[in-house]
């Protein structure tokens, strides 16, 4: 099946070339970081995690969103999703790869990464994160590949694939929950110390991931002869709007607890991120961009004509994706470190090498996605003819 990725139009090869070039730029920047150390980033003693970990946090959500098409199709026989489960699974593969890459580029000693396997530590959530992320990656690669190649040969996939598919459903929930637990159990970081952290992660994941999936389906329909189906896209859009409403509701819940209790530790994070604290506020414009885009997207998605029209739907999905990319991929993680344990503020701004590496990782993920989608679409086109 891999050979289908080696034949493509001029546009396909240009895309591959551009993504590979960006990957190369990221790799060069990473070599620079390896030689000089993480001082080349904007992280500091007070803000010891930056956009690498923040982007990983956002992408875990995108990865888990495959379950939003797999669950309805395999457990509830929603036939419309039959054509796009493979697109969801391959998106999960690309997203989990990006997660693992972001973790790798953030490590101070990446050459020692196998220590997490050589010295397993079940009391550490990071250990479990490694387990569930890698498990989910292999599950989706195996399931996606087996189901797609069976489809190509026009037979049923082997029987052992079904239990793996059923396993991938709770496993998808676990990758978020575990990632949320990374934050939600730390006694010194009041911005993250909330019981609904995992719930917030799940809700925003089930909005951002499917929104991206819709955009990818629209692109696939445009550049190939494979049509994921208007019905399927509309059903996914319904999932996105419900997930957005719940996401926004959860943020409101947090704000209520913080401000009605008036406890400084609870309030400070939100004050910093929404209006600035003690003269520091470089995340404020980002936070309001998130808030405005999120509310606008939700209103657009709630309005049936705007949701049914695929052009306005695309805009809503872009707004959903970018608003949640800001909230989970920037503000949530950085704000956790502000104020610091001494109640002073050190702000964080990513540096150029850091941004270059981040773009490189995204490009690598999209490169993997492009190749996998090319394979899936080629197979679908093949059996249609």
């Amino acid at each position: 099946m891999l050979e289908t990725a080696l034949k493509g139009s001029k546009k396909y090869w240009i895309l591959i070339g551009v993504l590979f070039g960006l990957h190369g730029m990221g790799a060069t920047a990473f070599l620079y970081q390896l030689s000089k150390g993480l001082t080349v980033t904007g992280m500091s003693r007070d803000v010891s995690w930056g956009i690498y970990i923040a982007q990983f946090t956002f992408l875990v959500g995108v990865a888990a969103s495959a379950v939003m098409v797999v669950l309805p199709y395999y457990l509830h026989n929603v036939k419309e999703f039959g054509k796009i489960t493979i697109l969801g699974e391959f998106l999960a593969v690309a997203a989990v790869n990006m997660c693992l890459m972001f973790i790798l580029v953030d490590l101070g000693k990446p050459m020692r990464m196998l220590n997490v396997i050589l010295h397993p530590t079940p009391n550490s959530i990071l250990f479990w994160d490694m387990v569930v992320l890698n498990g989910y990656l292999f599950l989706n690669i195996i399931i996606g590949w087996m189901v797609l190649s069976a489809e190509r040969k026009e037979v049923e996939p082997p029987k052992w694939v079904k239990p793996l598919i059923y396993l991938s459903i709770p496993w998808a929930v676990s990758i978020h929950t575990v990632t949320a637990f990374l934050y939600a159990g730390l006694p010194g970081r009041h911005f993250w110390l909330t019981a609904i952290m995992a719930a917030r992660f799940l809700a925003s994941a089930f909005a951002a991931g499917p929104a991206l999936l819709i955009l990818l389906c629209l692109i696939v329909r445009k550049v190939s002869k494979f049509d994921p189906g208007k019905e399927a896209i509309q059903k996914v859009a319904n999932i996105v709007v419900y997930a957005m409403i719940i996401s926004i509701f959860f943020v409101v819940l947090e704000i209520f607890t913080a401000f009605y209790s008036q406890i400084p530790g609870h309030m400070h994070g939100f004050v910093y991120t929404f209006v600035g604290l003690h003269g520091h506020g470089n995340l404020v414009p980002w936070t309001w961009a998130f808030a405005v885009m999120a509310v606008l997207a939700t209103l657009m998605l709630l309005c049936p004509p705007l949701r049914k029209n695929e052009k306005t739907l695309a805009i809503s999905c872009l707004l959903v994706f970018f608003s949640l990319w800001i909230e989970k991929g920037i503000t949530l993680v950085i704000t956790g470190f502000i104020p610091n344990p001494f109640d002073t503020i050190t702000e964080y701004v990513p540096t150029l090498p850091e941004i270059a590496i981040t773009i490189g990782v995204w490009a690598t993920g999209f490169l993997i996605l492009t190749i996998l989608y090319k394979i899936a679409v080629s197979v679908k086109e093949e059996i249609a003819s």
Binding site: T41, K109, L186, P187, F342
Partner: protein, 264 residues
């Protein structure tokens, strides 16, 4: 061709496995060489729960500087100043409102407001940093010290996120090629660190192992501004001092059970 290719690959796989097992058996045999043994130094101090009591009334610029310098010199801690907030500090000073945030108020006693409080790793009895380390590069010893193994640290900085006291520093750059580029590390008997690992106060475990007091304690032993001892020994100096004076700890409500007490 199909048949023989499959059997060729099978033979290749089995022989690789076989060769692999042979060589690892060989290695295992060699590892068990000799009747060598390891033992702790008989001079070493033993305890069940090491703790420090800082008498804040005895602290001033001079005393605190002595303590900080003693620690940072014998451990080759680089002094980056505070450029870019990438400093490395095992022990430092800060004012009350930053040492005990949330407990300060507008009408603090003048003496307390201006005092330099000595801050360091609290070697908590219930340490969140140990709980989160994915490789046990930081762990809690039986004598209560929260230790660092810089050989194993992967630099994930999860422990830094978990520590509620900001006690940990990360090597964002290589101290040897930056701070120590043109000067010798002050203590040739102790290593430096390299880029990519976390470090913090180790309660001078290497000194305790040969029967010496922690460097900061020794540096201020005339004034007894810092007292060191075993909390589980009812006759230790720390227990006596705590029995006679009211002492507080940083952020006790978080349940980490810190072992550094402050007599205010």
């Amino acid at each position: 061709m199909e048949r023989s290719r499959r059997s060729f690959l099978k033979i290749l796989g089995i022989s690789t496995l076989g060769l692999g097992t042979l060589s690892s058996v060989d290695l295992l045999a060699k590892a068990g060489m000799g009747k060598a043994e390891f033992a702790p130094d008989p001079k070493g101090m033993t305890g069940k729960r090491w703790a420090l009591v800082v008498d804040v009334k005895k602290l001033d610029e001079d005393t605190t500087q002595k303590a900080i310098e003693a620690c940072h010199l014998i451990h080759n801690v680089p002094d980056y100043g505070d450029e870019d907030n990438e400093e490395i500090k095992w022990i430092w000073t800060d004012k009350y409102e930053h040492a005990f945030p949330g407990t300060e108020h507008e009408y603090l006693a003048a003496e307390i407001e201006e005092k330099p409080f000595l801050l360091l790793c609290n070697h908590c009895a219930n340490p969140p940093c140990v709980r989160v380390c994915p490789t046990q590069a930081t762990w809690q010893r039986e004598d209560g010290i929260v230790m660092m193994d810089q050989h194993r640290c992967i630099g994930c900085r999860y422990c830094m996120a978990a520590c509620p006291f900001g006690a940990r520093s990360f090597n964002w750059k290589d101290p040897r090629t930056t701070y120590f580029k043109d000067k010798e590390p002050p203590n040739p008997k102790y290593p430096t660190r390299t880029k990519g690992v976390v470090e913090k106060c180790n309660l001078c475990a290497e000194r305790l192992a040969v029967g010496e007091m922690p460097a900061c304690v020794e540096a201020v032993q005339d004034s007894k501004a810092i007292v060191f001892g075993d909390l589980e020994d009812p006759h230790s100096e720390v227990r006596e001092v705590l029995h006679e004076h009211f002492a507080i700890r940083r952020k006790p409500e978080l349940g980490t059970n810190p072992n550094v007490y402050y007599i205010v």
